[in-house]
Symmetry: C2
């Protein structure tokens, strides 16, 4: 059977309407659309054929039609009209990002929150590093009586620190020596090369400050290990409850609890090769919890060997056009933000004293 232009138009209308109303769409509703110059009977015939073609479904004989998974697929791939963000929307998204990004360690959380807010759906945001992190340099600062601050700068220019309190006093000179030793032996090498032998050697060469070594090594190892793992945040879960398909509390709860968990951790994998924005409709999802849920995701660049992803989860009946548009806008703003590293550091033409 042929998928004529008119069929496409009807299908698009059905999906659009269903997205708006969350209720089966009847032939009459379609005819009332502007630009639909056919009678309900004609539409009915078209809808019947779209049904046999598998793009629409009928919950029961005397109800309207709803899009099938295949219908949604076709819709997002070919039919849906681009949603044009208004200037206002674009502005408010990018300014929201700029504004909220002071603290990078809570960044993913903030991003997720913002995305969720903009789409009115639960959102996830993931930052993962590819490539191996290493320590670029160690610094030790004597900080009062018997405290030392360890400052570790990583290969991606991230800096972490730890205050170490000592049981005994260590002289400034000892610390200088240890610092040099650390930089000579443990910097610029990947985590795998932190072998017991190496550590043993460092320990023995450390002299007076040897007590510090285990703490330093532990902290460094832990930090590097953490660098490898993805950093993910979920926000706005309860927005799901606003969706009529989740009036059923049990259903909502099932999905919501799985949103917290690992179910999502393989989503980034899907994005690995794909570019731009990707839409997973219902059953296309691998995770069984998401079987009747759609996911829209976009990648963005962070640089420094990191890659980010933002996405939202919602009912298969979601406003794909709007959501993809908003996500893309976010991704763009984020990429832009990370592309200009200077901006962030340089003196902002001061706000207040």
């Amino acid at each position: 059977m042929e998928l004529t232009e008119r069929k496409k138009k009807v299908l698009r209308s059905v999906v659009d309407l269903y997205i708006r109303t969350a209720e089966p769409v009847g032939s009459k509703a379609i005819t009332e659309l502007p630009d639909m110059k056919y009678s309900s009977a004609t539409i009915r015939n078209e809808m019947a054929e779209l049904t046999t073609m598998g793009y629409l479904e009928q919950p029961h004989t005397s109800a309207g039609r709803i899009p099938s998974a295949a219908g949604y697929r076709l819709y997002v791939d070919e039919l849906m009209l681009d949603y044009r963000l208004s200037m206002d929307e674009t502005k408010s998204i990018s300014s929201a990002i700029e504004e909220k990004m002071q603290r990078v360690d809570k960044m993913m959380e903030k991003v997720a929150k913002l995305v969720s807010q903009a789409t009115d759906l639960p959102a996830i945001s993931v930052a993962s590093r590819h490539g191996n992190a290493a320590v670029k340099r160690f610094d030790l600062i004597q900080a009062g009586e018997n405290s030392v601050i360890l400052v570790v700068m990583l290969s991606n220019d991230e800096v972490v620190n730890k205050l170490i309190k000592l049981p005994v006093n260590v002289s400034e000179a000892d610390i200088k020596i240890l610092s040099a030793l650390l930089n000579a032996t443990m910097a610029e090498i990947p985590l795998e090369e932190y072998t017991p032998e190496l550590l043993d050697r460092v320990m023995r060469s450390a002299g007076a400050a040897a007590a510090l070594v285990p703490v330093i090594v532990d902290f460094t190892t832990e930090t590097l290990r953490r660098q490898g793992t993805a950093n993910m945040a979920v926000a706005g879960q309860m927005r799901l409850l606003g969706q009529p398909e989740y009036r059923d509390v049990d259903k909502a709860q099932r999905l919501l609890t799985s949103l917290d968990e690992e179910a999502l951790s393989n989503l980034p994998a899907v994005m690995q090769n794909a570019n731009g924005t990707k839409v997973l409709v219902g059953p296309e999802n691998v995770a069984s919890e998401l079987k009747d849920t759609s996911v829209v995701m976009t990648k963005f660049d962070i640089g420094d060997g990191m890659q980010g992803m933002i996405g939202v989860v919602g009912p298969t009946r979601m406003d794909y056009a709007k959501v993809t548009a908003r996500l893309s806008c976010f991704a763009e703003s984020l990429s832009k933000m990370f592309a200009k590293p200077e901006q962030q550091q340089l003196p902002a033409p001061d706000k207040e004293a």
Copy 2:
């Protein structure tokens, strides 16, 4: 009217049962309890009196009774039998805490998650500092080409850092000078004394490294300001959906969205003077969103001028005995953890990019 022992016993039974079943409790159900040697008629009389005394309510004439707010109040204050945590429970709580507390900057989140898990209710966890924070010392580390790492140690021994990239090169000597200058002028004073005049003076004395000053000041100011504000986390919101009183999605959503927000930010205030565990029953809550919700909270000590609070939110019909027991156990474990003078636990590593 006298509140006899028997009345108390009946009231306790009603609350206990209602907590278990979430349904109005009838006189017959009470008589079926072991240890209740009266007929249903007697119980009915007692219940009638408890109703006129305001401890019980009747949803409608032909239904059983449910506890009123006053009833709950009396229950938690006098009637409820202590819930004894099994050894297993205690152990699993404290070991969960020990295990999860490596990263202190995400601590509140983890605590909230653990508490929520243990009580099967949404949980909040807040850490707030009282007393004014100040900078104990500044350090600047030259880190390669034109980067400088700023390390700031606060009066409570927390250490934060920031990588600053410069447009121009600054010599090691300049940095030394600036560092000394900062320590001389801006350390050991509260945030309020960061007046425009002071900053102006620093700026002028800074010489070659003057470009750095605004960045440093901004960062420091922001950090100190953040020290003053409470740090709060919410977890397990969706557990609320498991409670029968929130089968109504709208109701659930209303509460859940308010859980995210500031509604809770005045909860810590309630704890300010109180000690031990505090229970707020329904209308006793100030925030209107929580009017038919109960909150159970406990303080714990962090030391270093910080104070923590954990709490859960749930339907007025919640298992107060169990919840308070669990919360207390948590609080104790946490206090113990922070009291430990071991160096591993003390410092608060903070990471910034």
